[in-house]
């Protein structure tokens, strides 16, 4: 981007917003918006606090656990739907419903079923991630070129070898599903913890809000945004490395 002939560095639009935030904060119009400089100062506070470290630990554990279950169940479900037409007919509607349903509304139900703790958050991550993984896997399995399967049969491939070929051939779609599932899982872990609100970042958010520590509150929001963005970027990089043959399939 250039302005009056000068090349502006990347993210310079952010600076404009930051300045605007600082001004509004300094005017003390709203309790909700402390000046940006205060938020930055609070950032150090939040990062070094032991409760933040603990929140991150719990968040990581519930995220990884929920996602791991979602991967296993989602890919298995996708294969089932992709390979067995009857299963597809029975399940497709439900999977699509859950994919687009506002799952946050179900979190209170999970709380009743799984208690006010990590299990509920794990289930929330699972529910956010699993459906897109299943649907993308299904699409991948269904889009395999029939001649690749005929090829493996004609050269005498065993059942296991044929399954391996199906898996590899569907891998680009499966990985796209995994990437979307991972990103949705981040939403799941935050929403789950916010609603349970006595563990992880959810507990921190309630703590800051109840004590009117708005600078800390915003610092935590910024941290979570940055973490989620960095995470999505890492997954996207990883996906690019295997993308080369997705575009080259014939």
């Amino acid at each position: 981007m250039t302005l009056f002939g000068y090349r502006l560095p990347m993210m310079s639009s952010l600076i404009v917003w930051v300045i605007l935030w600082e001004i509004i904060g300094r005017l003390e119009l709203l309790l909700l918006f402390p000046p940006f400089s205060e938020v930055i100062l609070a950032l150090g506070d939040v990062l070094t606090s032991s409760s933040f470290a603990e929140a991150m630990r719990i968040t990581a554990i519930s995220y990884v656990a929920g996602l791991a279950i979602a991967l296993v169940v989602g890919i298995a479900l996708g294969f089932l739907m992709g390979l067995v037409p009857t299963a597809d007919k029975m399940l497709n509607m439900w999977v699509n419903t859950f994919l687009s349903a506002p799952l946050s509304a179900l979190v209170p139900v999970f709380m009743i079923l799984f208690g006010l703790g990590t299990p509920t958050v794990i289930v929330t991550v699972f529910m956010f991630a699993v459906w897109i993984i299943a649907l993308d896997t299904r699409a991948g399995v269904q889009n395999i070129s029939p001649s690749l399967i005929e090829m493996s049969r004609s050269f005498g491939a065993s059942r296991f070898e044929r399954f391996k070929i199906t898996l590899f051939a569907a891998l680009p779609e499966i990985l796209a599903g995994v990437r979307l599932g991972m990103i949705r899982g981040v939403k799941g872990v935050v929403i789950g913890q916010l609603l349970v609100s006595i563990i992880g970042v959810g507990a921190l958010f309630s703590l800051y809000q109840q004590n009117f520590l708005m600078a800390h509150f915003w610092a935590l929001v910024l941290l979570l945004f940055t973490l989620a963005l960095t995470f999505a970027e890492i997954v996207a990089r990883f996906e690019k490395r295997i993308e080369y043959y997705a575009g080259a399939r014939s």
Partner: protein
């Protein structure tokens, strides 16, 4: 082209029955969905060591017949014998070359060419050596470590051919192998196929919809007519031995045979 035949240029031609057939098609019918008669009581045999083309307009069941011989499709009725044994599924004495190449995009040229051997349980060192040999044979030496998407269509089909050759099957079943490559590559391919036949002692079954291609490469052409798929005519192109590709394309018998086949096929096109 070794088959000699009275070329009297009349529609009533008789062709000799194979004396040493490797494949026998007996009374084979294929009905799709209870209504579409793709093949109707086909009786046919293929001579060992010959290249036979199945030629016909689209919908005549030529690919269906080839896939039944391959064991990839089950006939509704009738049976196939390969070397005297009834076909129940794919077998190591038959190798298939696919119209759309059917290469594994995640595997290198070498791994793709060695796939059939791997499925047969051949040890790694041996199968890679064999695959390397046939990659050279089809003119792809130096491309062993490339991936399919780095190759042109013609080169991809050469990998498919190397894969089929490497398993050392007696019969090579080729389903319109050159239809997805451009015209120049196609001509080169046909010439290579003829040369390959002199090196490899194999029987070829070749499905094509190109009359020129069939006349150029075949010992025998089996013409099928559509709906229901039946044998309409069998022709042995009487093309002189040892003729160069350039001479052949201007050869009178070659041109006459192409014309004759066109005349008998055109009624299905119009």
């Amino acid at each position: 082209m070794t088959v000699a035949l009275a070329a009297d240029n009349t529609a009533e031609r008789s062709v000799p029955k194979p004396t040493n057939p490797i494949i026998e098609v007996r009374n084979v019918s294929k009905v799709y969905g209870g209504a579409v008669h793709a093949l109707d009581k086909i009786n046919l045999s293929f001579e060992t060591g010959h290249l036979t083309s199945l030629l016909g307009p689209s919908g005549c069941g030529k690919t269906t017949l080839l896939k039944i011989v391959a064991g990839l499709l089950q006939p509704t009725d009738g049976e196939i014998l390969v070397k005297g044994k009834k076909v129940t599924g794919p077998g190591p004495e038959r190798a298939f070359v696919f119209q759309d190449f059917a290469l594994m995009p995640w595997a290198s040229v070498l791994q793709n060419a060695a796939f059939g051997l791997k499925m047969q349980g051949v040890g790694k060192a041996e199968r890679l050596e064999k695959a390397r040999h046939y990659i050279g044979e089809v003119g792809l030496a130096g491309f062993e470590e490339k991936y399919p998407h780095e190759l042109s269509g013609g080169m991809r089909q050469r990998v498919g051919l190397a894969r089929a050759l490497a398993v050392d099957a007696d019969v090579l079943l080729m389903d319109e192998p050159f239809s997805a490559v451009d015209e120049q590559t196609r001509r080169k391919f046909q010439e290579d196929l003829i040369r390959l036949r002199e090196v490899e002692n194999k029987t070829f079954l070749f499905v094509t919809h190109s009359i020129e291609e069939a006349v150029y490469v075949s010992d025998r052409i089996v013409m099928l007519s559509p709906r229901p798929g039946r044998i309409s005519e069998i022709i042995d192109p009487d093309i002189p031995d040892g003729i160069s590709p350039d001479e052949l394309r201007r050869n009178g018998t070659y041109l006459d045979t192409v014309e004759e086949i066109w005349r008998s096929i055109r009624k299905y096109v119009e």
